[in-house]
């Protein structure tokens, strides 16, 4: 894989994990409650698993940036898949009113949705892509500039997509929209 693309993806993943860790640390009790609401883990183990997830995400926030180190890429892919699986199980059971707890824009309260499952699928692919060997060993000045600017752009696009999903959730929750739907159905 091209070294520039690989670094852009790594920086995006580092951003996702570091934001996740910050969010989980700042709202630790809320994160515990979110994990509990997923109803997939035994109650006594919840605090332990919360700490473990925060530690592992903290490790990945730095680990994915290390060149030629494959473990973080695979662990990151596994973590994203795990979260996607947990969300899918709840969505299949019809429990779509859970907070996703995935560090989305917290003030907008991101709920679990299939859009988030797809987002996690894409992030899994990105994490796996970083495991591919890079084409060259070092970055030129031009490549460093590209990586820097493109990373900012990619992070902003990612944040915009996440914000879009959160907006969508909010919109569907308001039954103002529902009444609008009813109105259009009536007409």
């Amino acid at each position: 894989m091209d070294i520039t693309v690989s670094y852009i993806l790594r920086i995006l993943l580092a951003f996702v994990f570091s934001r996740g860790v910050l969010h989980k640390l700042c709202n630790f009790s809320q994160f515990n409650a979110t994990l509990r609401s997923y109803r997939l883990l035994p109650e006594p183990l919840l605090p332990l698993i919360s700490c473990f997830l925060i530690l592992i995400e903290g490790f990945l926030a730095f680990g994915v940036l290390v060149k030629d180190w494959l473990y973080p890429s695979f662990i990151a892919a596994a973590i994203f898949t795990l979260y996607a699986w947990a969300m899918s199980i709840n969505l299949i059971q019809g429990r779509d009113d859970l907070d996703c707890g995935c560090s989305g824009p917290s003030e907008f309260g991101q709920r679990v949705s299939w859009a988030l499952v797809i987002r996690n699928g894409v992030l899994t692919l990105f994490a796996l892509a970083t495991a591919f060997p890079m084409t060259s060993g070092t970055l030129s000045v031009l490549e460093i500039t590209t990586v820097f600017l493109a990373s900012i752009a990619v992070i902003l696009i990612y944040a915009s997509i996440e914000q879009g999903i959160a907006n969508q959730n909010r919109q569907t929750r308001y039954f103002a929209l529902k009444t609008k739907d009813r109105r259009s159905a009536a007409e």
Binding site: P105, L149, L156, Q163, Q171, T179
Partner: protein, 199 residues
């Protein structure tokens, strides 16, 4: 620095700026969602509470026929209006449209209620009925009904279910307010405000 370099960096800078703009717009949409709360019918303090039985079961219509509130066959939307209330007039076509739609899912009858029983008032009501093509057997003139529901401002609506239980009520000024009564009933809450607070 070559021209390629310069164009490369300028293009990336433009992309970054555009991404900032897109992100800011997405945030703004989120903020708007937060601020533009759907307005529900305004609940008033007095009168029978939501969940209680309607204070009057039988009312007499303009044409002296009998209307049963909660007769076991259909829900009733009781709308308090007045021929001299301009908002009530704008609401009448909306009431019919909403009722048509709601009637698809469950039987619903619309009853318009007003007061003023003098000969002069009756003339006004008659003009009102013919101007808006209202049904006389669904138009009630009853001061008692207004007092029973403690109607302070018009237009005021109350949704009464088949069993005669008040399911939602409030001052309604728009289609959104009117629909919020049905929505509140469907969601098992007293008012839209209660639903939003519980969210």
């Amino acid at each position: 620095m070559s021209a390629l370099w310069v164009s490369h960096i300028i293009l990336w800078l433009i992309v970054v700026v555009l991404c900032f703009v897109v992100f800011a717009l997405m945030r703004q949409i989120g903020v708007l969602h937060e601020r533009v709360f759907p307005a529900g019918a305004l609940m008033t303090g007095g009168g029978p509470r939501v969940g209680e039985q309607t204070p009057l079961k039988d009312i007499i219509a303009f044409d002296d026929s009998r209307i049963a509130l909660g007769d076991g066959t259909s829900s009733t939307l009781l709308l308090f209006v007045s021929p001299s209330c301009p908002v009530c007039k704008t609401l009448l076509p909306i009431v019919n449209s909403v009722a048509r739609f709601e009637a698809r899912s469950h039987p619903l009858k619309i009853v318009l209620a007003s007061d003023g029983d003098t000969a002069e008032d009756r003339q006004l009501h008659l003009q009102f009925i013919s101007a808006y093509n209202l049904a006389k057997d669904r138009y009630v003139i009853s001061k008692r009904l207004g007092l029973a529901f403690v109607v302070e401002k018009l237009p005021f609506a109350a949704l009464i279910d088949k069993g005669g239980v008040i399911r939602a009520k409030g001052i309604v000024n728009s289609r959104e307010h009117l629909e919020s009564l049905f929505e509140a009933h469907e969601r098992g809450v007293a008012s839209l405000q209660e639903f939003l607070t519980s969210e």
